[in-house]
């Protein structure tokens, strides 16, 4: 009962942002299908990429460079910083707003003085987080599907991108759980957002540097972005190990959020 009331409240607070984020995700993936080079153009593009320095090639994705194809380009659409940013904005916005944001604003007193359990508050935030991420990831995939319908590309079907969209959802569900944990420990939204942004940016940069700088390649498993490789998913399918790591990190962070929030002073 109270989880439903809290969910309704979260929906009212975040619905406009969710609509914009989902629309942006849809548009970006649709636009990627417009700029994917046709089979005849890939030779030229391959030469262009061969001239690029290794760090740039890594940033665009191994599969894209190694095996230029429409599939590679579409996979690039799912690893581009823009769709990642869209998902990160939702993960941090909802997680931080539901706990640290309410505490910092003073509205937590009104909720917590009523018969609403603290686990219910964390659970409502987690459901809102997942539902929004699912919608944004689905909107992105629908953008790809729409684009491929109006511009069919040889050797790729919209269904091929479903596992990629699912992995993006799983990656940011894990990040959302981490953000919920941070939010459960903080007293105001500003501090929680700073922590989350720092962790996300640090993890992203670590993954990138560990790919281009062999001296620190051993650190790459410490980044959650290591377990999200759309072009490898397109090539080899979903890796069970990646799913396990992301799921375990998400579950552990969520359990920690429940435990910390249930015991803390508000």
């Amino acid at each position: 009962m109270s989880v439903l009331a809290l969910l309704g409240h979260l929906w009212r607070r975040h619905r406009l942002a969710l609509v914009w984020l989902a629309a942006a995700s849809w548009f970006f993936q649709w636009a990627i299908t417009r700029v994917v080079p046709a089979a005849a153009q890939t030779g030229f593009v391959r030469q262009l990429f061969d001239m690029a320095p290794p760090p740039v090639r890594v940033m665009f994705g191994e599969e894209l460079v190694a095996n230029l194809s429409a599939r590679g380009f579409l996979g690039f659409g799912y690893v581009h910083p823009f769709p990642l940013l869209i998902l990160a904005v939702w993960a941090v916005r909802v997680s931080v707003g539901a706990l640290a944001g309410e505490v910092g604003r003073g509205t937590m007193d009104l909720v917590a003085s009523r018969p609403v359990s603290r686990p219910a508050q964390v659970a409502a935030a987690a459901w809102a987080l997942l539902a929004g991420l699912a919608l944004i990831a689905a909107a992105g995939w629908v953008g790809t599907a729409f684009g491929l319908r109006s511009r069919p590309l040889e050797g790729v079907a919209a269904a091929d991108l479903v596992p990629v969209a699912a992995m993006s959802l799983l990656l940011f569900a894990s990040w959302g759980a981490v953000a919920l944990f941070v939010s459960a420990t903080r007293r105001d939204a500003g501090a929680a957002i700073s922590w989350c942004a720092g962790l996300l940016a640090g993890s992203y940069v670590l993954d990138y540097l560990a790919r281009v700088w062999t001296a620190i390649a051993f650190l790459r498993p410490l980044s959650l972005f290591r377990y999200y490789e759309p072009q490898r998913v397109l090539r080899e399918g979903i890796a069970v190990g990646d799913v396990l790591v992301l799921s375990c990190v998400g579950a552990a962070a969520l359990a920690a959020a429940f435990a910390v929030f249930a015991r803390r002073d508000l």
Binding site: A112, P115, L266
Partner: protein, 290 residues
């Protein structure tokens, strides 16, 4: 509602120490103290928003724990610094909070009417409200579901005098319906007017708890005498404490039991005017905090 040796520390700071109180059902209990005395900390401990460092409390007969239990539906709470969701309208705010309370808002319409919050105001986003309107909305959300126990932290803050009068009526009516009210304030006139009993806190410690009348009785009266001729007023010093004295007048603080003797003595002097001020809670408060 009871507290047993309740205490709270924030690091090295002792916000509350060894607080033992008992508040009976249906009474209006005033909780007095200067800023930083521990009033808000006490209320937050009673609500289970904070975990006590020592002791414990029961509310509505149940032990207070962190988190939400069903009996919280029988509570009403007005925070000292009331805050709402700026993008929600007043009506949505009240609906949401009533839904979380799991009780019907039986008294909402009457409260809105008495506090002058109309339909147009309620349809607006809360961020457009003045401080006074926010405080009114805070009072309505605390009392709309007819709670058995209401904890009101500085309830008249930001209200104009007319609305304050209306609020006193609301408290009186709530008490008549059997609601227990715990009112934290540093507005002494208000507590004196509203409350049956009071407790006074100072630096996290209980200074006094008892009936308002008892406080008044224990308090010395201020006696102002004006004489039509010169008098050796210092000679009256053994009746009480002289605040100010001259040949033509004297101001004293006198215990109730010494008043008859003083009045009899003054009657033997060339008395032009005599004022015996009723004792106020404010004087008791100031005397205890000096």
């Amino acid at each position: 509602m009871t507290t047993e040796s309740l205490g709270k520390r924030f690091g090295a700071v002792r916000a509350l120490e060894d607080l033992s109180l008992r508040i009976e059902q249906g009474e209006v209990f005033g909780f007095l103290g200067p800023n930083g005395a521990g009033k808000t900390t006490t209320i937050r401990l009673l609500l289970g928003l904070l975990a006590p460092s020592a002791g414990g409390a029961t509310v509505l007969g149940r032990p207070v724990t962190l988190g939400g239990a069903a009996w919280r539906g029988e509570l009403g709470y007005l925070p000292g610094e009331v805050a709402f969701w700026p993008q929600l309208s007043g009506k949505r705010t009240l609906d949401y909070l009533a839904r979380l309370s799991r009780r019907p808002p039986l008294d909402r319409a009457a409260l809105l009417d008495r506090l002058g919050l109309g339909a147009e105001t309620l349809s607006r986003h809360v961020h457009t409200y003045s401080d006074g309107m926010r405080q009114k909305l805070g009072i309505v959300q605390a009392l709309q579901c007819r709670p058995r126990l209401a904890l009101l932290d500085e309830p008249t803050k930001g209200l104009d005098p007319l609305v304050q009068q209306e609020f006193y009526g609301i408290v009186s009516d709530a008490r008549d319906r059997g609601t227990t009210l715990f009112v934290s304030s540093h507005v002494l006139v208000e507590v004196e007017r509203l409350c049956d009993r009071v407790a006074m806190l100072r630096k996290g410690r209980l200074v006094f708890a008892g009936d308002v009348e008892e406080v008044r009785r224990a308090q010395r009266r201020r006696v102002v005498a004006v004489f039509s001729g010169d008098v050796e007023s210092q000679a009256l010093g053994h009746f009480g404490e002289i605040v100010e004295a001259s040949a033509r007048g004297i101001t004293m603080l006198v215990a109730q039991k010494d008043l008859p003797a003083l009045v009899a003595r003054l009657g033997m002097l060339p008395l032009a005017d005599l004022v015996v001020e009723p004792p106020s809670l404010e004087e008791a408060f100031l005397e205890r905090y000096r």
